[in-house]
C-alpha cells in the first residue's frame, strides 16, 4: 500500500495550506448562507435552499480542480515527482495517490453545503441520497479535470486555467441563473458541459423527481467524469513518461 503514504502526504499538503480550506470549504459555505439569506423574501425557482445547495456544492468543486491541478503541477515542476518516479511506485499508485486525498475534501464540501442547506430547508428524504450521488460523481469529474490541467500546465499556469474552470462552472453550470430560461449561447455551451446537468439533476431530485427522471442527466455527468479521468490519466502518464 505504498500509494497511501503518498496520498497521506498530498492530503497534508492541501490542509496545511490555510487558503485551500478558506477557498474550498469556507467560501462556498459563506456563499450559500449569503445567497439563501438574500433570496429569503423571494424563494422562487433556483433561489431556494433546494436550488442553491447543489449549485454551491458544484461551484465549490471548481476548487477541487484548482487544488488538484496546483498540487500536480507543483510536484511536476519541483522535481519531487521526478524523485518519486525513481521509487517502486506504479502508475496506478500515482494516480490513486493524487485522487484519494481530494475525496475527503469533496465529502466535507458536500456535507457542509447540505448541512447548511438542510438548516435553511433542503428537503430531507430518500431523494437526498440521489442528489448526493450525482453531486459526488461531479466532484470526481472535477478532480479528473484537475489532473488534466496539472499534467498539461505549469505551476504558474495551472491556477489561471483552473480559475477559468471555476468561472465556467459558475456561468455555464447555471449556478446563479436558470440556463434553460437564458438559453442562447449560454444554454448551448452549458448543456454541452456536465456541470449544468449535475446541478439540474440534483435540484430535480431534491424537488421530488425520481432517480429515473434524471437518469439521462446523470449519464452526462458520469460520462464526462469518466472522460476527465481517462484523459487525466493519459496526460499524467504521458507527461511522466520522460
Amino acid at each position: 500500500m505504498r500509494f497511501l503514504s503518498l496520498a497521506s502526504r498530498n492530503l497534508k499538503e492541501i490542509y496545511r495550506d490555510p487558503l485551500s480550506i478558506a477557498f474550498g470549504v469556507a467560501m462556498p459555505a459563506v456563499f450559500l448562507i449569503l445567497f439563501i439569506s438574500i433570496s429569503k423574501n423571494a424563494p422562487i425557482g433556483i433561489f431556494t435552499a433546494n436550488g442553491l445547495t447543489p449549485a454551491v456544492a458544484v461551484f465549490s468543486f471548481g476548487f477541487l480542480t484548482l487544488f488538484s491541478a496546483m498540487l500536480l503541477a507543483k510536484d511536476r515542476e519541483s522535481a519531487f515527482l521526478t524523485r518519486l518516479l525513481t521509487t517502486p511506485l506504479t502508475s496506478l499508485d500515482f494516480i490513486s495517490a493524487y485522487i484519494l486525498p481530494f475525496l475527503p475534501i469533496a465529502v466535507l464540501q458536500i456535507t457542509i453545503c447540505f448541512s447548511i442547506g438542510s438548516f435553511y430547508g433542503v428537503t430531507i428524504n430518500s431523494n437526498l441520497l440521489f442528489a448526493i450521488i450525482i453531486i459526488f460523481t461531479m466532484a470526481l469529474g472535477c478532480i479528473g479535470l484537475g489532473m488534466i490541467i496539472g499534467s498539461l500546465f505549469t505551476e504558474k499556469q495551472a491556477p489561471g486555467v483552473s480559475s477559468i474552470v471555476i468561472v465556467f462552472i459558475s456561468i455555464f453550470g447555471g449556478c446563479w441563473m436558470d440556463l434553460k430560461m437564458v438559453g442562447g449561447i449560454f444554454g448551448t455551451i452549458g448543456y454541452t458541459l456536465p456541470f449544468a446537468y449535475a446541478i439540474d439533476a440534483a435540484r430535480a431530485v431534491l424537488n421530488g423527481s425520481g432517480f429515473f427522471d434524471i437518469v439521462t442527466d446523470f449519464y452526462w455527468v458520469l460520462g464526462y467524469t469518466l472522460i476527465f479521468f481517462f484523459v487525466g490519466i493519459f496526460c499524467f502518464r504521458w507527461r511522466t513518461k520522460g
Binding site: R2, S8, R83, L85, T87
Partner: protein
C-alpha cells in the same frame, strides 16, 4: 536477471549507453563499469550529459541505444527491480515543502515499501547523521538551502539502497553547507555505490574513487583522480618569487626545464618532474635571493583544462 555477464564486483555497467533528443545526441555510447562501494564521479560542464546518464540509469529515461545493468539488473528489462535497489537525490531539491523533515523521511520510507518501525528507526538515524535533529519537526519550507539539500540526500538514503545517485548535491550551496554534505558522502564511502555528478572539480577530487570527464555526451577521460593527474596532466608546477632573478638565470634553468614563464616578481616552472633542491641550489648559486617558493600539485581543474582547453565552470 539480466543476460549480461556482470561480474559481481561491479554495481553498475553501461553498454554503449546513448540518448538522442531529436537530432541531438545528449549521451553518446557511454561504457562505464563502477565497482561496488565506489564513489564514481561524472564531471563536466552544464549540458555535458551527466544528468541524462543519471536519468537513464534510474529508469526515468529510456536509452535510445545501448543499455546498462545495476547490480546485474538490466535497466530496460528489469526496471521494477532496478527501482527497488536505487535511490536518487535529484539536482533540484526534491522535498515536500509543507511536511516536516521527519514526515518527508517517513513518506520516502512508505513509498519504498518499508515497514513503519523500520522507517522510523532509519529516519531517526538519518536525521542525526544529517544534523537536522533540532528542526526535525519543522515544516521544511522554513529550512535554509543547505538544510533542504541535506534532507534531500537523507530522503535518498532512507530505503538503504545499495546504489545511490547524487546529481549535483552541492550545487549553489555555500562552502560550509557543501563541506557538511561532503562529510556525509564520505561516511557512505565503501557502504554504497555512489554516482556523483558535479561540476565542482574539487568535489570530485575530494570524494571520488574514480572520475569520468564528460564533454558533449562522451567520456573523454576516466580513471582515479591521481591517475588522471599523472597520466593526463602529468605536470608539476613550481612558482618562485625573489630578488635578482634576471634573464641569464632563466636561460640557465631553461636548459634543464624548458617550460619557464616569467610572472610578477618571479618565475613559474612546469615539468613532468621538478627536482626542488636542484632548482633552489642553482638559483642561489646565481645570487638570487629567494623569498617565496610554492610547489603546486596538478588538480582536476588542470586535467580538465588540458583535455578540453576550457574551464569546467
Amino acid at each position: 536477471m539480466s543476460n549480461h555477464e556482470g561480474e559481481n564486483e561491479y554495481a553498475i555497467k553501461t553498454f554503449g549507453l546513448t540518448k538522442t533528443f531529436g537530432s541531438r545526441k545528449a549521451v553518446d555510447e557511454i561504457n562505464l563499469a563502477v565497482k561496488k562501494g565506489d564513489v564514481f564521479s561524472l564531471i563536466g560542464p552544464n549540458g555535458a550529459g551527466k544528468t541524462t546518464i543519471i536519468k537513464m540509469l534510474s529508469c526515468l529515461l529510456k536509452p535510445t541505444v545501448g543499455t546498462a545493468t545495476i547490480m546485474n539488473y538490466d535497466i530496460k528489462k528489469n526496471y521494477s527491480e532496478v527501482k527497488r535497489i536505487i535511490d536518487v537525490s535529484p539536482q533540484e531539491t526534491a522535498i515536500a515543502c509543507h511536511l516536516t523533515a521527519w514526515e518527508n523521511l517517513i513518506l520516502m520510507g512508505g513509498v519504498n515499501g518499508l515497514k513503519k518501525q523500520e522507517t522510523e528507526k532509519r529516519a531517526k538515524k538519518l536525521i542525526k547523521l544529517m544534523g537536522l535533529t533540532q528542526r526535525a519537526n519543522e515544516q521544511v519550507q522554513k529550512f535554509s538551502g543547505g538544510m533542504q539539500r541535506r534532507l534531500s540526500i537523507a530522503m535518498a538514503l532512507i530505503s538503504d539502497p545499495p546504489v545511490l545517485f547524487l546529481d549535483e548535491p552541492t550545487l549553489g550551496l555555500d562552502p560550509q553547507a557543501r563541506r557538511a554534505i561532503w562529510e556525509q558522502i564520505e561516511h557512505l564511502k565503501g557502504e554504497k555505490t555512489i554516482i556523483l555528478t558535479t561540476h565542482y572539480l574539487e568535489e570530485a577530487d575530494a570524494l571520488a574513487d574514480r572520475v569520468a570527464i564528460i564533454r558533449q555526451g562522451t567520456i573523454i577521460a576516466e580513471g582515479t583522480p591521481q591517475e588522471l593527474k599523472e597520466n593526463v596532466y602529468g605536470m608539476q608546477t613550481m612558482i618562485i618569487k625573489g630578488q635578482n632573478i634576471i634573464t641569464a638565470d632563466i636561460q640557465g634553468l631553461k636548459k634543464i626545464y624548458p617550460n619557464i614563464t616569467v610572472i610578477d616578481g618571479g618565475i613559474k616552472i612546469e615539468a613532468q618532474e621538478l627536482i626542488f633542491d636542484e632548482i633552489v641550489d642553482y638559483l642561489r648559486s646565481e645570487g638570487v635571493k629567494i623569498e617565496w617558493i610554492s610547489m603546486k600539485e596538478p588538480s582536476l581543474d588542470d586535467v580538465y583544462l588540458r583535455l578540453t582547453g576550457e574551464g569546467v565552470n
